[in-house]
């Protein structure tokens, strides 16, 4: 793949590219999104 026969190398390229695609998708879809994730102390204070 990509002119590289060793899977140990082309896999690194493939996964880096996949990571880039994920970051683009994540960044665009959550560009204006606030999440409601709470930290341990928030949970404790609410309890």
């Amino acid at each position: 793949m990509f002119g590289i026969s060793n899977p140990g190398i082309w896999l690194a390229y493939l996964l880096a590219f996949a990571c880039l695609l994920f970051s683009i998708w994540f960044g665009i879809t959550t560009w204006n999104k606030e999440d409601d994730e709470k930290t341990n102390s928030t949970k404790e204070s609410r309890e």
């Binding site: 990509f2 002119g3 590289i4 026969s5 060793n6 140990g8 190398i9 690194a12 390229y13 996964l15 880096a16 990571c19 880039l20 994920f22 970051s23 683009i24 994540f26 960044g27 665009i28 959550t30 560009w31 204006n32 999104k33 606030e34 999440d35 994730e37 709470k38 930290t39 341990n40 102390s41 928030t42 949970k43 404790e44």
Partner: protein
Amino acid sequence: MSTLTLGIIVIIYMFVIAWLGYLGYKQTKNASDYLLGGRKVNPIIMALSYGATFISASAIVGFGGVAATFGMGIQWLCLLNMFMGVVVAFIFFGRRTRKLGEEHNARTFPQLLGLHYKSRSIQIFIASIIFIGMPLYAAVVMKGGAVFIEQMFHIDLHLALLIFTLIVAAYVITGGIKGVLYTDALQAVIMFVCMLFLLFWFYHIMDMGFIEANQRLTDIAPMVPERFKSLGHQGWTAMPIAGSPQWYTLVTSLILGVGIGCLAQPQLVVRFMMVESTKQLNRGVLIGCVFLIVTVGAIYHVGALSNLFFLKTEGVVASEAVKDMDKIIPLFINKAMPEWFGAVFMLCILSASMSTLSAQFHTMGAAFGADAFPKLGRGKNPSSTLGVRIGVLCSILVSYVICYALSASIIARGTALFMGICAATFLPAYFCSLYWKGATRQGAVASLWVGGLASLFAMLFLHKAEAAPVGFCKALFGQDVLIDVYPWYAIDPILFALPLSAITIVLVSLVTQRKTV
């Protein structure tokens, strides 16, 4: 290119940096502005600053040379930089860190954990590790920048070191984190454009495409020098032989050590607390990954492919054209790139050094002035920044002295050493502060001590790369390392210390939880 032209380019660059530092100074009104930019930093500037701080000159010149010598296996580091350094760091650590910091009104990393575990001693302990350990890492970056200036302008190394340090000191002390962030953003853009050009120009001069170049590099595998074959080198498009010395260095030190180590870097963690909301961090994921794949990915890729260029022009592979790995990329830039690009690339290297160094100085200053001595310089004004500014000045002086005091071989290990200590010492307590409410103060304290001491022990007595140049083990026991059996002396300390630190926080927390219940 003449020294005069180079000088003019650098002077213009320095004026812009000075102006950005002044901008930071004008916008800094109190301690919160100085330490966290008032928690209202633009997400693009934050992400660019994060990336620029992450990537130092050694990542470009040093690891670029590693790619030229040992091949594309180093691309796993690029993947981990993106995945662990941005995706995992921003999504799983950053979002909770920002909220936790806001809840506790924490301004520094030691303060964040100290307030969370309700322990002043934790804050002091972390600040001490930063103030003692980080100057070594900063000294590496300082020396790298000074050597580069020395070579470009043919001036004395001591003078180069002084000039370089004074420039960074000026905008960090006056401009605070805003000065650091603005200059980082500019430096990140310079690095990004340079690496993009480098990638496109390489294919242009070699007149081949992506797959064809990779195939040609695969075909020249038999030309690997004999001295590297014995270390496990199988070619530039192949991983080293599993279990060989080169494999252990690549997998344990570079990929795991730096890849995991980046998660608990105080100067990076603090950036998560600078933004106003979670959506700013979400945007940072996109910007950070694009920045890293272009800067780090491009230099590792072109570094490995530079063998084709050297083969075409010199008739030998890169590591035969120049024996010193650190000089491969500068030589390649000199020979393969247009003349004007040499000056721009010099700005790129200066930018990479300055952005990393400024963040280090600011973090050390904060550890000194805001964590260890919070009342320093605050007499009647609690929001005074004088104490932190004094801290920054002290950290600069300590780093400057270390540059002279330690031998080059120890300084060269500074980056891996500090990253390893950070990961093993801070990561379990930091992770549990975000994800496990069962973690107790006693568990965190024990984990910090065990991680720190285990790292120190492994570096002084087990891992040859650090133990041999330090010489402490040899002085006590007459041999470089305690276990002189392969592969034990080649395994990075992080593989011993991090699991120990993680197990400690779990066990001690479980025991102390029961006692308190």
